[in-house]
């Protein structure tokens, strides 16, 4: 646990030592602000559900930028060798990295609470769906991160990691539509794997255990695959 928290803490700190984190957060907040405004303009509803259902479009671009360097950079500079020759296990590095970057996503989401404040001041929004909505966004963002982390474990090159995670997330985003086009049982399975459709319930105020388990499974799979990928150096 000490190793996990040490890795997570270092990761979170190092984000703020580089300009990338600030750029990414600024980009996200700008995009979220535009979305919030556009949706509010067209629906005239004091609700966050439109934003929550569409925030994945921003995640699609932002999360690969956050996750791309996580493991790739350490493998390139040799610090992974340093970690792995100390009493640290692969899964501890992976979980630490995941938590560190997830904390950054949380930090990135904090300013969006301003939207909530606006809605509370100028309208009378339903509070339940906003709370479950945030939970859904955090779960979805974490699932995206886990995919990005895995992509980052595959290469020493950050750009390759970013492209791989972008493509993986794009496929996961489109799988809802792909599934509908395919049709039948196969189509249903493909649709079910969509990382984006599972947020629907959260945005409307329901926490469906099916959706929670789906996101947690994606996160667990990403972490396990990343760990295996780090361990694979032993078999090469």
């Amino acid at each position: 646990m000490r190793n996990v928290s040490a890795v997570a803490e270092r990761e979170l700190r190092s984000y703020f030592l580089s300009p990338l984190a600030y750029l990414v957060v600024a980009f996200f907040l700008f995009g979220a602000g535009i979305l919030f405004w556009l949706i509010l303009q067209s629906t005239r509803l004091a609700s966050l559900s439109g934003l929550i259902q569409n925030v994945h479009v921003l995640f699609l671009f932002v999360i690969p930028m956050i996750s791309m360097r996580l493991l790739a950079e350490e493998q390139r500079t040799g610090t992974m060798e340093l970690l792995m020759t100390n009493p640290v296990q692969e899964w501890q590095v992976v979980v630490g990295k995941f938590l560190g970057s997830a904390l950054l996503v949380l930090v990135m989401l904090i300013p969006t609470l301003l939207f909530v404040v606006f809605l509370l001041i100028y309208g009378n929004p339903d509070r339940g769906p906003m709370i479950t909505g945030y939970l859904g966004v955090i779960l979805q963002g974490s699932a995206f991160l886990a995919v990005g982390l895995w992509a980052s474990s595959l290469s020493e090159n950050q750009i390759v990691a970013a492209v791989v995670s972008f493509i993986a997330l794009l496929v996961a985003w489109l799988s809802d539509n792909i599934g509908q086009a395919v049709g039948g049982t196969l189509g249903q399975i493909v649709s079910y794997l969509s990382l984006t459709s599972h947020i629907q319930g959260f945005s409307q105020g329901t926490i469906d255990s099916k959706d929670v388990i789906f996101y947690l499974t994606v996160i667990a799979a990403g972490l396990v695959l990343s760990t295996l990928s780090l361990q694979s150096r032993r078999y090469r």
């Binding site: 270092r10 700190r13 580089s18 500079t77 610090t79 009493p87 150096r233």
Partner: protein, 318 residues
């Protein structure tokens, strides 16, 4: 204490380390010497638990590096060849992070102690990315010293440093012997003579020699050798030198800077215990060449090394 027994590592079909066996005693500084690509780094990576061996075993302070990897790793301070640093962190926060990873008690004091020992304390607050290569190397050494591990493994600790820094690092490593068991790899020969109490020479993944620097020299100096500088056509001079009784081998050192008939350097080897200097001198003079210098030569480490490692390659190629 480190014990390596019949260690083997294959990368697919390529054998990187083949049946390597050696011991390093408590407080000893062992020089791990070999040309680039000989298997030094691979051996060190196995010892530090980064790579598993394909065969054989290795023990660090009584812990098997493959089956008790975490315990073994806790006993080792490791400085890889490319010093692994986080360039955006300050020296102190980097060392603090590493101390946390190493589960060091009294972290602050230990970080101070390591910085003091590696002589980097005066730059504790600086960002690592802005330090010179020599200073970064010191940060890497400080990292290896954290938690005062009984075993230190350093992969080419002086590569890329300037001569003054090299001497500093060598002295530092020398001072660590006795207290720590040290393995130091290098392809630079004077380094081992300057810092190590024992040498293991490795070539193509195999140990080709293991001894103290002095003994290695003695063992390989099975022949007396004499260095001559003679003016004259080198092939003629060489054949005259070969004609002298008791001479077993003549090596002409080609020097492109000198003209064809200019002075050339020759190394003559003869049986042990026979002084052939007078005979050589008179043979040269009789041959009508100009004798400019004649002195007994000692095989230095450089020559021992070349002899050992090139013989080995020649054998394998034939």
């Amino acid at each position: 204490m480190i014990r390596v027994e019949h260690l083997t590592k294959n990368y697919g079909a390529r054998v990187a380390v083949a049946d390597v066996t050696f011991d390093v005693g408590q407080g000893e500084v062992l020089g791990f010497l070999g040309p680039n690509g000989a298997g030094k780094t691979t051996t060190m990576r196995i010892l530090t638990g980064y790579l598993p061996p394909s065969g054989g075993r290795a023990e660090v302070e009584g812990f098997d590096v493959a089956t008790q990897s975490l315990q073994a790793r806790a006993k080792i301070g490791y400085l890889p060849e490319t010093v692994p640093l986080y360039p955006d962190m300050s020296v102190r926060s980097y060392l603090n992070f590493m101390a946390k990873i190493k589960a060091v008690k009294e972290r602050r004091r230990d970080v101070d102690r390591a910085m003091e020992k590696a002589r980097i304390a005066h730059r504790a607050g600086d960002q690592i990315g802005k330090l010179s290569k020599g200073l970064r190397q010191r940060v890497g050494i400080a990292q290896a010293l954290l938690g005062d591990p009984p075993v230190l493994i350093m992969d080419e600790p002086t590569s890329g440093l300037d001569p003054k820094q090299i001497i500093e690092v060598r002295n530092l490593i020398k001072s660590l012997g006795g207290e720590h068991t040290v393995i130091l790899s290098t392809h630079i020969l004077p380094e081992v003579a300057a810092t190590c109490s024992r040498i293991v020479i490795i070539s193509n993944g195999r140990v080709v020699a293991e001894d103290t620097p002095e003994n290695l020299g003695r063992r390989l100096r099975g022949a007396e050798s004499i260095a001559l500088t003679v003016r004259g056509p080198s092939d003629q001079v060489a054949s005259v030198l070969k004609g002298v009784p008791h001479v077993s081998n003549v090596m002409a050192e080609a020097d492109r800077r000198t003209p064809a008939n200019g002075p050339g350097t020759f190394t003559v080897q003869s049986a042990v215990g026979v002084d052939i200097r007078e005979a050589l001198a008179s043979a040269v003079v009789k041959g009508g060449f100009g004798l400019m210098e004649l002195k007994p030569a000692h095989l230095n480490l450089e020559e021992i090394f070349l002899q050992l490692t090139t013989n080995d390659t020649a054998e394998e190629e034939s």
